[in-house]
């Protein structure tokens, strides 16, 4: 199975600042995704990170707020921009593993607190 390393694991940030979260996978994967998990809630898809092109965002999420990069098939970043306390959540990177069809794996998450 794919092993996903996500950094940082947690951070406390001032409102109005930005945080970039990194996701590194130990093998090449076609599909990478970013999710948000608000306190006490389930996971919500933010966007699909496309290699070599702009990310595909879900309704309610915009590129200016959550810019995503995916320079290759093993790495992606999510930036949370101009943060407010409402952005306090766990942010999760996920991959659909082509070599294990039907299995989707997650990083350990980044717990973000905005003060």
């Amino acid at each position: 199975s794919a092993v996903i390393s996500q950094k940082p694991s947690r951070d406390i940030c001032q409102r109005g600042t930005s945080l970039t979260i990194q996701c590194q996978v130990d093998s090449q994967v076609t599909m990478m995704f970013w999710y948000r998990q608000q306190p006490g809630q389930s996971l919500t898809l933010i966007a699909t990170a496309n290699q070599g092109s702009e990310a595909t965002y879900e309704s309610g999420f915009v590129i200016d707020k959550f810019p995503i990069s995916r320079p290759n098939l093993t790495f992606s970043t999510l930036t949370v921009s101009n943060m407010s306390p409402e952005d306090s959540s766990i942010y999760l990177c996920s991959v659909y593993d082509d070599t294990h069809r039907g299995e989707a794996f997650f990083g350990q998450g980044t717990r973000l607190t905005v003060v």
């Binding site: 599909m31 389930s42 898809l45 999760l92 989707a104 997650f106």
Partner: protein, 110 residues
């Protein structure tokens, strides 16, 4: 609109007391029904994917089953270490990203 609904929201069991968690779905052209375990402060851990009605998969004390409208996660003789939130999900129409239910928080007491 595709939906994944889990019940109950929370479940408390005594050690050894078997039970089932439910996941009902209204998804057109189901391309898999996923089960995950999530411990506090961690990302979801993959458990099973089921593809067709009648399919069953097992892992230790867990067995997942699938019908045309719902899936069950059966927990046999649970132990305290089985305490976690169990999430059910189905792929979105747009691709392989997942649409998650709200989860069942399971607590197993000694």
């Amino acid at each position: 609109e595709d939906q994944v609904t889990q019940s109950p929201e929370a479940l408390r069991l005594q050690e050894g007391e078997s039970s089932s968690l439910n996941c009902s779905y209204t998804v057109s052209g189901l391309r898999g029904l996923f089960w995950y375990r999530q411990d506090p402060g961690k990302g979801p851990e993959f458990l099973f994917t089921l593809y067709s009605a009648g399919e069953e998969k097992e892992k230790e004390r867990l067995k997942a089953t699938l019908t045309k409208k719902e899936s069950f996660l059966h927990i046999t003789a649970p132990k305290p270490e089985d305490s976690a939130t169990y999430l059910c999900a189905a792929p979105m129409l747009s691709g392989y990203a997942l649409n998650f239910g709200k989860g069942t928080s399971l607590l197993v007491t000694p």
